[in-house]
């Protein structure tokens, strides 16, 4: 599904190298988790894959089903099936959540050569999916993320994911700022989307999210590289012992 090869990235505005050769292969239908200390480059990886400005790729590639993501505009990456659930979803005053969702869904359908959804069809689907995430009609009417609580914002991200039906989902610290119940709700939303044709890359600091979204593989990232890969037990190890032992072991 996603094949990242020797990815090197630096900041555009300063000579600071963030990613120093990331290699990662994600097969269809699998869930990968990336853990790592602050500043190890986890969020940068998610931004670079989704096409945010401000970064320069100096080496390497990232293929989504064989197509080079790094040469595409952000919207083309989305249409190709990539989705990033933001750590800090952006507030957009003046744009209704419903308008936003519909514009996004139809833009992607159009880019893929599919017919746009009619207002009626769209409404039916969105209501059903919103209900599962306990997103009420009022939240759909409000401007995108404006006045949403931390939990509402994250649920709104998962709703977008459910509506857009991407192939490759990246969740950037989706658990941050969530209480236990909200995390469960979000995790249930993600689990409902798990399928053989859809892969996940879950970036998190804490093992507890992985209790709810069970990963097939866990990677430890440090200083711009993936330094260790294992099964779910690796996350438990981090939770109990911190990163120090793993880092020491690698060096």
């Amino acid at each position: 599904m996603l094949y990242i090869k020797n990815l090197h990235v630096k900041l555009e505005e300063e000579d600071k190298v963030i990613l120093k050769g990331v290699d990662l292969k994600i097969a269809p239908g699998t869930v990968h988790a990336i853990m790592g200390p602050n500043g190890s480059g986890k969020s940068t990886l998610s931004y670079v894959l989704s096409g945010k400005g401000g970064y320069v790729v100096t080496e390497g590639s990232a293929l989504l089903e064989g197509a080079e993501l790094l040469e595409m505009e952000p919207e083309a990456r989305a249409a190709a099936g990539l989705f990033l659930a933001f750590q800090y979803p952006v507030e957009i005053p003046g744009v209704g959540n419903m308008t936003f969702l519909r514009t996004a869904v139809n833009a992607q359908r159009k880019a893929r050569g599919e017919d746009e959804l009619s207002a009626g069809e769209f409404l039916k689907v969105v209501r059903e999916k919103a209900k599962a995430l306990k997103i009420d009609a009022e939240m759909l009417k409000r401007p995108v993320n404006v006045g949403f609580s931390g939990g509402e914002k994250k649920r709104n991200e998962i709703l977008q994911m459910a509506m857009l039906e991407p192939k490759m989902c990246i969740l950037d610290e989706t658990d941050s700022g969530l209480d236990v119940d909200a995390m469960k709700l979000v995790a249930d939303g993600v689990n409902a989307l798990r399928s053989t044709g859809r892969s996940f890359l879950v970036i998190t600091h804490y093992q507890r999210l992985l209790d709810h979204i069970k990963p097939d593989f866990v990677h430890i990232m440090s200083d711009g590289r993936i330094i260790k890969t294992g099964g779910p037990e690796l996350a438990l190890d981090v939770e109990q012992n911190g990163y120090a032992d793993i880092l020491a072991e690698v060096v």
Binding site: G51, A104, L164
Partner: protein
């Protein structure tokens, strides 16, 4: 000082030398009074504080600068699908042949230059304009009252069955129109006025609006797409007890526009909202100048002005809220914002509050900025193409102003104009 005034009066003498002051008919004495006021002031000059950000020369010059009429080809004119009473002016002259029969239940309509004598208008013509001359002089409005060649006297006595739509066509490259309308909303009456079109190469327009107790006036205006047209407009509104006034203006294109709104609360518990959305690309200078006077209790005023500027366009906002002594529980709000789509454009804002009552809420804000890159990326990351995302964000920026239009069909019509403008002007 004397020399400056003399220069302004000399400019006036030149300007009005070729104009005709009607010395008969019901408006004659009001016009003579206006000429007296005007002669004392002279025409505005570049050095006037009130014209600091907008050069009035092309508005005061003897002849208008020629402006080619815009040719509509691809698009229906605004308000086409709204059920309305159409009254058409061509280059500032009422055209009965192109207009609907000017009769409407709940409303009386007559022409300024007509033969009738609308007795109520005799007591109104130039009255609010005169009140609006203090504390700030508005010579171009006095010039209008003195020399207006056409306009409508509209009196609503009940709830108007549909909006009155004033359509200002522009045919002649060198037309110079002076239009003066008086709108009287009697107690409890309701009226919506729509205006659209450039009217002329140069337009000087005054609309006086007097709203009696419990009356309601709604105004939606678009100012035409001609790139080189110039206009100075004044809305003078006086609000009685529990009355409502709402005005929204969309300005897209035009070389120079100065829209003044002078609003005065004289009765308690009234509400006045005045809003504008202006979008300019290139040689575009747009000035919103607003003066709201609270002279009654518990009144609410809102000024919401948004501008989208690119390729060297200039936006100006001068907005004032004056709360007189005794105007307790006043709720005054003012926001002026510019969205700059490049580094070449300019926004000049002068918000002012002057408050003599101690129990009021007044707030004002003014900002200018670029499109939020984070919001743009967020939309793109959801698959929305960049240009669509930009349009969405520009419309979102304008939304607070467009929200001042109460009628959804009218608001949608305005939104479509904005979207079309953005589509035509994207990426250049």
């Amino acid at each position: 000082m004397a020399a400056v005034l003399q220069a302004k009066q000399d400019a006036l003498a030149l300007r009005i030398a070729g104009l005709d002051l009607p010395n008969s008919g019901w408006s004659a004495s009001a016009r003579a009074d206006a000429l007296t006021r005007l002669s004392a002031m002279g025409l505005p000059g570049k050095r006037d504080e009130y014209w600091r950000y907008t050069d009035p020369s092309s508005l005061t010059a003897v002849d208008p600068t020629p402006a080619a009429p815009f040719v509509y080809s691809d698009e229906k004119m605004v308000f086409t699908d709204i059920d309305r009473l159409r009254l058409v002016f061509v280059d500032g002259v009422f055209d009965a042949a192109q207009s609907d029969d000017p009769t409407l239940a709940g409303v009386e309509i007559s022409r300024l230059s007509g033969t009738g004598d609308p007795h109520w208008a005799r007591d109104m013509y130039g009255v609010l304009e005169t009140r609006g001359q203090t504390p700030v002089q508005r010579p171009l409005a006095a010039l209008n009252t003195a020399f207006a060649t056409d306009g409508l006297m509209i009196r609503a006595t009940g709830r108007a069955a549909k909006p009155i739509s004033l359509i200002y066509l522009h045919n002649s490259e060198s037309s110079d129109a002076i239009l003066h309308h008086c709108i009287k909303i009697e107690a409890g009456a309701e009226l919506t006025i729509l205006e659209n079109g450039p009217a002329a190469a140069r337009l000087n327009m005054v609309m006086e609006i007097d709203i009696a107790e419990g009356g309601s006036f709604h105004h939606i205006r678009t100012q035409g797409r001609d790139h080189d047209r110039r206009a100075v407009t004044h809305l003078f509104a006086r609000l009685g007890t529990e009355s409502r006034f709402k005005s929204f203006t969309l300005t897209a294109n035009g070389r120079l526009t100065r829209n003044e709104a002078i609003i005065e609360f004289t009765g308690n518990d009234a509400v006045a909202h005045v809003a504008g959305a202006a979008v300019g690309d290139g040689k575009f200078h747009h000035d919103d100048t607003v003066f709201v006077t609270h002279d009654a209790q518990r009144c609410e005023s809102r000024q919401v002005f948004k501008k989208v500027l690119k390729n060297g366009a200039v936006g100006v906002f001068q907005g004032k809220i004056l709360v007189k002594q005794g105007a307790q529980k006043t709720d005054g709000y003012q926001i002026s914002q510019a969205l700059m789509l490049d580094d070449d454009s300019q926004f000049l804002a002068k918000p002012e509050l002057e408050i003599y009552a101690d129990d009021v809420i007044c707030s004002h804000g003014s900002t200018s900025g670029a499109i939020d890159d984070n919001a743009l990326f967020y939309l793109q990351s959801r698959g929305v193409p960049k240009r669509v995302a930009q349009s969405l964000l520009v419309l979102a920026f304008l939304a607070e102003a467009i929200a001042e239009i109460e009628d959804e069909a009218l608001a949608d019509d305005i939104r479509i104009r904005m979207e079309n403008w953005l589509a035509r002007h994207e990426g250049k």
